[in-house]
Symmetry: D2
Subunit: 337 residues, 4 copies
């Protein structure tokens, strides 16, 4: 049986998901909706599907699951409306910029028992997934020190920064999830940050360069480094030091070409940005959603995972503002883990 999927959001990331849906025979895209009518129509035309309204989609009993790739401020409502309509939900991160709102979604989803997956794409990157498998298999013993490097090639427009929820909720949220995924939920958060890239970002009340330390109850440590600008490309690396060795993920380069001249040996830059770097992750996460759905198994990235990452962002914001280490409370995470 093929699952019928409706897509909310026909933008850049919606198109990526539409292609993923197309490539897996277990599902078919049947409808798309977007506040930008033109975008919805273009995507519908390309895929030979219908443009529908949100209400029509939710009311359509033939639609099994919805994929939410609309703007962040719609996520919480759409998840709740989707599960209320009896549909499985795949939602791009974050649940919401507001932790309290996210906690309510968490409660709704828990009460509904419906399958909901958060699109933490990095978990499905073959590099990070291979590292996690090796770590879980004990190849480097007990984990001790985790280090995530995550630099964007260039800052987004300041207009975006203003509605982004800030670096911790908009950008570092992925890195928080990576730490939770590999090490679990930390006990405390220490955040530092500066505005070094563009003064306009600082004027908008945000930082563009930040280092966060996560303290685990058993003494393990994790660090996350973020910058809104690495002119050489999208820098996405990870290192995990353990008692018996170290695992690391290096950047994927645009090509494997090397040039040796009197100036030295030069190689390609990292792949430019998330669509290139995480293309395979986007494909794989969709397959993982269908796997869990068709097998009735647990989702590989849950609403609780979304809450956890958001709670860490919240803690980091408090830490940065108040210049102190912040202890994560059960209230912040809904009692987890």
């Amino acid at each position: 049986m093929t699952l019928n999927i409706a897509l909310f959001g026909a933008g850049r990331i919606g198109k990526v998901h539409a292609a993923s849906i197309k490539s897996d025979p277990r599902a078919q895209l049947v409808a798309v909706t977007d506040v930008m009518a033109q975008a919805a129509q273009a995507l519908a035309a390309e895929h030979g599907i219908e443009v529908m309204t949100e209400d029509e989609i939710l009311a359509d009993a033939s639609i099994d699951a919805i994929l939410i790739a609309a703007s962040t401020n719609t996520h919480a409502d759409l998840i709740e409306r989707g599960i209320a309509a009896g549909k499985a939900v795949f939602c791009e991160k974050p649940i919401d910029l507001d932790l309290q709102r996210a906690l309510k979604v968490r409660a709704s989803v828990a009460a509904s028992g419906k399958p909901v997956m958060m699109g933490f794409n990095r978990r499905f990157d073959p590099n990070f997934a291979t590292l996690k498998a090796a770590f879980d298999a004990g190849e480097i013993g007990k984990g001790e020190l985790l280090s995530v490097t995550s630099y964007d090639p260039a800052p987004p427009p300041v207009s975006y920064i203003k509605v982004s929820g800030g670096l911790f909720r908009d950008m570092m949220i992925h890195d928080f999830d990576m730490c939770c995924w590999l090490f679990g939920l930390p006990a405390k958060v220490t955040a530092t940050g500066s505005c070094l890239v563009d003064p306009a970002i600082g004027e908008a009340g945000d930082v563009d360069t930040a280092v966060v330390i996560l303290h685990y109850a058993d003494g393990r440590l994790a660090t996350i480094r973020n910058s809104r600008r690495a002119v050489f490309g999208y820098d996405q690396r990870l290192e995990l030091l353990g008692s018996d060795g170290m695992l690391s993920v290096e950047n994927q380069l645009e090509t494997t070409v090397r040039k040796s001249t009197t100036a030295g040996v030069s190689s390609a830059k990292p792949q430019l940005f998330f669509l290139e770097r995480y293309m395979r992750a986007y494909e794989t996460e969709w397959a993982a959603f269908l796997d869990a759905l068709t097998n009735g198994t647990a989702m590989p990235a849950t609403v609780q995972d979304g809450v956890n990452a958001l709670a860490l962002a919240e803690a980091a914001n408090i830490s940065l503002k108040e210049g102190r280490t912040v202890t994560l409370t059960a209230e912040m995470t809904g009692g987890a883990p």
Copy 2:
């Protein structure tokens, strides 16, 4: 206007091409044919297209182009029948195992004026293409010494070896084409080869390990190393030494994960085989065919290119058999370059 494409051959490589056709809006796959009826039906079902006979395809005026991915012994006939039917042709390499037959195809194609492209996929690999662009832009000055490394992960069954035309025509033909693509047609060929991997390959009259030197009229040299077995994966590298530097293409690895333990630092193996390693090349070569077709420009890999590579394989076979350097004649290449 969308071009209607018919696919000859529903095997492994035919499926890859079917996916490429699907992903480019300028063309649509409308029919498939295969001597294995079941294979044709499966592919047809997946793509929602018709199974037709070869004759039906060639007689169907609505079909603009054919893509030949059937077994090698059908290539020459199908190219000639395709152009005779007024169709554009994309054909997997080689034209034929017999150089004389290939030369006849060359003449037929030249007479017809129809666009025919040979599927020398490596030319479209982003790594090799980037290297060539840098070389053509003069970034390492004048080319002097070209070295192609091309090892398969494991030998094919001996049953395949027996009908393959031998290592030079079956495997090194790609590397001959790379040399022609970068350096043009050489003047002389010196071939060496041994049976080291599997005695059965030697009993079948073939070699499994070979080194060939191409001598250019102006003194440039190229070497090609082939082995039917590199247990660590598909080893596809190239080095080009020039007067002002060197360009090289390294292997693409399965992941960028590294593990550091007391045993050393280990990283991933090269991507296993041609479908993985050259996936992007397969996609790109099809786009290049459509580019040339829709723009009416020259094909980026021609029947003459196919003849040249085959002539080098022929010369290598003679060199190996007679233990001498063989001079390439105009007769062998149809007068080219």
Copy 3:
């Protein structure tokens, strides 16, 4: 004119310095002293020099400079006695484990006007020196985020830990100096640390795994990661993200051999420990001392540098103990910078 040098300390590091002295024609080793008479005699025999007492050395007017490679607790006294005796001094780091004592030495040296160099060997490592030269030349624009990775292959005996002054003063002091060398003196220090490697280290009141963040007045950030155990070898790396790019120093490996098998591609481990990794740095720092001495120019690593690194270690200890960010005061650094 050849400078006459006396060596204090005939242990492992003393032997390294003796070899450096031997290899530079501008100086000659004339005497050695050590509380372990046997060690002094062995070194003296190998170099054909005399064993003298400390007093004899300091009283000998023919001795131009002393090289202090004795145990840490002797450094402060020997520096002060050396300059009082009119000698130039090269002293292994640290000045002293006690910041107040170090500040007194700083005052004594300033008052004496005698040339004193601290052996911060990493500044002379060709890799770090090349990075600094490129950074100072503006090759990556303005510095923003500095990251130092410094893991030892294995922890020292707990007996050593107990007298070491703790991880920040014993091990991270080198990394503090690297940050000061590249970025200057920071404004604030946030330190975290855990005992993960060996419980006995924790029982001795120390940590074995630590992450420190240095906050600069202008918003720049630096992080230092330390572990007493990286089983794969001595991990010494550095990354400097700037407005126009990034500079990094990778590990030096034992060999450049790579092995590709079905298990993957493996390469050598980092050079095992400081004597191997920084051999060239030890040679170069001695030459730099002689350069400054013979040219009358400023020492490339001063007592003030030693005080600064120690003040950062002190601040890190307070930060770790009190769980807060510590602001560096003029009192802690003697008013510097």
Copy 4:
């Protein structure tokens, strides 16, 4: 007991050897001789030793061994005079440019029973030595295809080319030895070569770019690539494909610094030339000579090894001149192996 060593030749390579002798307590340099009196005096002054004539050295019974680092045309005579005088001999490669003369030296040495070692330094490079140890330990199974890359950074003056004996005897001789060391003596040689770097080299009757294939009796193959010019530095690599994997030696780079900018990721060049690249090899080969001498064990690089490499160079010259594959005869190697 310390061995007394006399050095023949106070040039660049003589100085390197003098330093090696100095660093090993089992031997001491006692005399130097050179046709350039000034060079001999400078080296003697630096080391506090005597300048002697060749005759004085050979007549001095207190001298245990001679180290021949004088010009190539003196080697054969000095080896023979050295063993006749009862001395152990360490001689830089080659024995002589003339194979017949080398064969006579071989006979003289064999008759004398005196220990003579040829300075094939690459055997003692830690990278190549590690590769050989792994290969001999069976880590990649049976060897099949060996590839040596050896490019100089820049051609020597044409005046040197004229007396060098040609590329095969002057430059590729090292690579011939590497092949013999790893794979033993081949059965046949196919050589190609061109003058691409500097027409003056061609006018002097030599080539500057060459590819040679060595054919082993059991089918194994080896290739050697030489160029007199790789503008990016001294390119010294080796690859050995075996039945169970591949071992390779990569270049040693000047530093481990990497710079990532909008232009790409650049790293350092290979170490410039043989003195830098093989510094540790020079030290180790001398230690190996002393090991063999003091233990009475076989020399790790013999006069027979020197003859073998020279015979391969001779065969390559014939192959290049006559455009055919040349079979190595027992006469060419003195009956070896």
